[in-house]
Homo-oligomer: 513 residues x 2
């Protein structure tokens, strides 16, 4: 069998279980595109902007538990996708990030689209390789998938000069073994047990896979047995939540609240989470919410098997399972729109096994505590702070959802970064309900500006104002083939939301906050 | 007078003549935003996505002849702007690219938005510096402006950790002298004259400032005196064109046409242009349109004074001025829409001193030759091949236009990359008429795919199809506060276009091709 490099690439990806490709191809990727015809089995999802492609790959992997491939066009196409790869990096997301590029022998001529593709890739990737020959593209792809899937997951960027795709001699490679997550040392578990028995104030800080339902149950058993405090990282790739599951709070975003939340901690035990840090520095404020008097202990790093480690810790402590709290089912809120009213309605109306993608920024600060009583669901956050991740993640989650409803909670300013996502949702008829919180300003920045100086003037305020002209998300959605409507009261929202989750396909609700 | 670093930055920019700032700020830039209130004189233009900001800075500088500042938020914010900075780099555009970032002492904590900002900047910038202290931010900014303005112009990236902006001790710096463009060696001019007198086939290839009206006139005088052929680079930052000016063709984009156009050349003399290269490699095709038998000579590099060099060459040759050709004024086309009909109408209806921003891609291949008879205008192209440059460039050009009408020629696929530009056009009430060529496909890629393999299948074709669902640019524009309408015939287009150029503010015409 004779095949070119591109065909060997597609065969190799499929053999390694990568069967979904989010793509925004260009001329240098045409042989890859042609190969997708000749090698059946890859679901190709087109994005009209690379930020959609990379954010969708992030959302897909968080839900599917395996990587998608991307297909991007040269250095500048990769550049357009970097911000959401940055978010993916902070979530330890698995992505097989394929970037077509100039032919190996054409690069020295410095054609207009030639750029430092590897240089752009390095800052967001745990693994980067530029293919050199058609004969080895299959092997390169197999290593890329292995790298992407190695715990805790990472962005693996494979740069494919066009001649490595069109030349003959491609050899499909078998999937390489993915090492299981390593087990943390028994000593680290025993040390954590010793601290938990020691009578001083201990907090377990959970991140990454420690936030799955069964692992959270173990953490709650340990907390019940020892009096330890539990907290999750501020932003997480996925938290299992809702009725029948154990709730967990997160490190608050505002610096003063974060400091207050951790003030009493004497021992902070990290379980799959890095030491928490404040998002930005502020004059005269600390850079971390961890008190200087606290000791920080690493029980597991993000790549470790979190469930095994917590099971060992629970066993060491003889901690018995505890039942999750029982919440009364909420009724939808009525009347005026507020953050709390919205969260109440969301908790009441959320369908079973929904996937929430949260880029609600300021308006959403109350959503998390008020939605634990919702039906069981997964909660995905913007992990890297690069706004514009939400709509793409929801799109990718919708591709992976398999009948589950995706609920995309979007601030208006953030929604505008990657609004093109809606077109892909329409094209793929994805079950995504997007709620845009339309406050017509960069509310988070108005707050920050107020912190900075007294009496901001017109020039400064204008820079944070999204009115003048007002954005109309219903019209924009219609322009991309997605139905939508505005809600000016909670009753209107309740009706629109309830309808949207029972029908196929995407819907946009512009909530006038 | 006590001021902080951010205030010294604004003072320094203003003192150096940089009085326009395209911005998409975040938390780490709030002190810069606050300083804009306290230091009057800077026009601030908000973009809802960083690609709008950087592309607008590119378009602004091409028209204004001086740099704008940008204001971007951390590494990922810069990343979102990289593709249009790449285009700017290929145009040798002047940009003072300001990127706020984590405080110097906060960076080691690796907060979520922390990224390799310098690493991202390097690939698109001729000059990169990270400020270290408030006291030296003014001096840093003065050097940044000087770097940006040094011929032929470049992207100068100044990264501003937030503490260098909020700390006291800022010292405004005086503008540094900008060196004039260097003069090429007299030997290079004499050598060009010798070749032009030698009787062999000579082509002058012009780029950068050699394409201004008075310099083009000198090139035409030389061509008339010697029989030399004239050609411009394929993509150029600005060509002065229209009635009363000398026309010039460009190196064609398709490889076969480019090779044919240069086939007879024995001596290629580069005047402000690099040696031409084919955009992408294709199996079995050359990487450059310059025949192997041709000798390539550099008379001037892009940074040289092109006008002085061509004046010296004309003097050396005794070449007398020649009048530009006289074209009959065209009548608008009627009936069915085609590339030629559109170009005919555009030539007939274009207002005096319009600025054309051309990202028309495939549909626009006939525009350039058919519009020389239009009223005098400037023609700006996408220089780096990273699509999504057009709408932002038109936005920035509109800010710099001073009463001139900007006409933005946009392919539908490219328009979707940075569609957020329309909101800024509405907010600033810019005189920009956007024509979106709505063919509902990536037409250029369909052509490339056809070159690659016979009978593309459904999977491949779907990746290049922008229908399903159809995009509606009139609705999207309305969602961002810009009026628009569809044209299904040339008569409809003629009416809409003629109206749009006589009224204030932006307008979108979706041309159904």
């Amino acid at each position: 069998m004779s095949m070119n490099g591109a065909e060997s690439l597609v065969h190799t990806l499929l053999a390694a279980g990568v069967d979904t490709c989010f793509a925004n191809p260009g001329t240098s990727e045409m042989h890859f595109v042609a190969a997708l015809d000749r090698v059946p089995g890859m679901r190709c999802v087109l994005g009209l902007f690379e930020g959609v492609v990379t954010g969708a790959a992030d959302g897909y992997a968080r839900v599917a538990g395996k990587p998608a491939a991307t297909l991007l066009h040269c250095g500048p196409g990769l550049a357009n996708g970097l911000a959401n790869l940055h978010n993916g990096r902070r979530a330890n997301t698995m992505v097989v990030n394929c970037v077509g590029d100039q032919a190996t022998y054409h690069r020295p001529l410095d054609a207009p689209l030639t750029a430092d593709t590897e240089g752009f890739a390095r800052g967001v990737s745990g693994w980067v390789r530029t293919a050199t020959h058609a004969e080895t593209v299959g092997a390169d792809a197999a290593v890329a998938v292995q790298a992407a899937r190695t715990s805790p997951g990472q962005v693996a960027t494979l740069i494919l000069p066009s001649d490595t795709c069109w030349n003959a001699g491609g050899v499909p490679a078998a999937a390489l073994p993915v090492p299981p997550p390593p087990t943390t040392s028994p000593h680290a578990v025993k040390e954590a047990a010793r601290l938990l028995r020691g009578g001083e104030k201990v907090m377990l800080l959970l991140g990454n896979e420690a936030l799955r339902a069964d692992t959270l149950a173990l953490a709650h058993a340990i907390a019940a047995a020892t009096g330890a405090d539990l907290l999750a990282q501020g932003s997480n790739r996925l938290i299992a939540r809702g009725r029948g599951r154990h709730p967990i709070e997160r490190v608050p975003y505002p610096v003063d609240q974060a400091v207050a939340r951790l003030a009493a901690v004497r021992h902070l035990i990290l379980i799959g989470a890095p030491k928490p840090v404040i998002f930005f520095a502020y004059p005269g404020k600390p850079g971390t919410p961890v008190p200087a008097s606290a000791d920080v202990h690493v029980m597991t790093r993000p790549e470790h098997d979190q469930h095994a480690a917590l099971a060992a810790l629970a066993a060491e402590l003889g901690a018995a399972p505890v039942a999750p709290p029982v919440h009364a089912r909420a009724e939808p809120a009525r009347g005026a729109i507020s953050s709390e009213a919205f969260a109440t309605s969301l908790a009441a109306l959320l369908p079973e096994q929904a996937i929430i993608v949260d880029e609600s920024v300021t308006f959403g600060r109350s959503f998390f505590p008020l939605t634990h009583a919702a039906a069981p669901h997964d909660w995905m956050s913007l992990t890297g702070g690069a706004i514009g991740g939400g709509l793409p993640m929801a799109t990718g989650a919708g591709v992976a959802a398999g009948g589950r409803r995706v609920v995309s909670l979007e601030a208006d300013g953030s929604a505008m970064y990657t609004i093109q996502s809606l077109w892909t949702q329409a094209r793929e008829n994805l079950d995504v309900t997007t709620i845009v919180f339309s406050n017509r300003k960069y509310a988070i920045l108005l707050h920050e500006l107020a912190n900075v100086g007294a009496n901001p003037g017109r020039t400064a305020l204008d820079m944070l104002d999204l009115g003048s002209p007002d954005l109309d998300f219903v019209k924009m959605a219609a322009g991309m083939g997605v139905e939508g409507a505005r809600a000016g009261t909670m009753e209107q929202f309740n009706d629109l939301f309830a309808q949207s989750v029972t029908r196929k396909g995407p819907f946009v609700i512009e909530l006038m906050t």
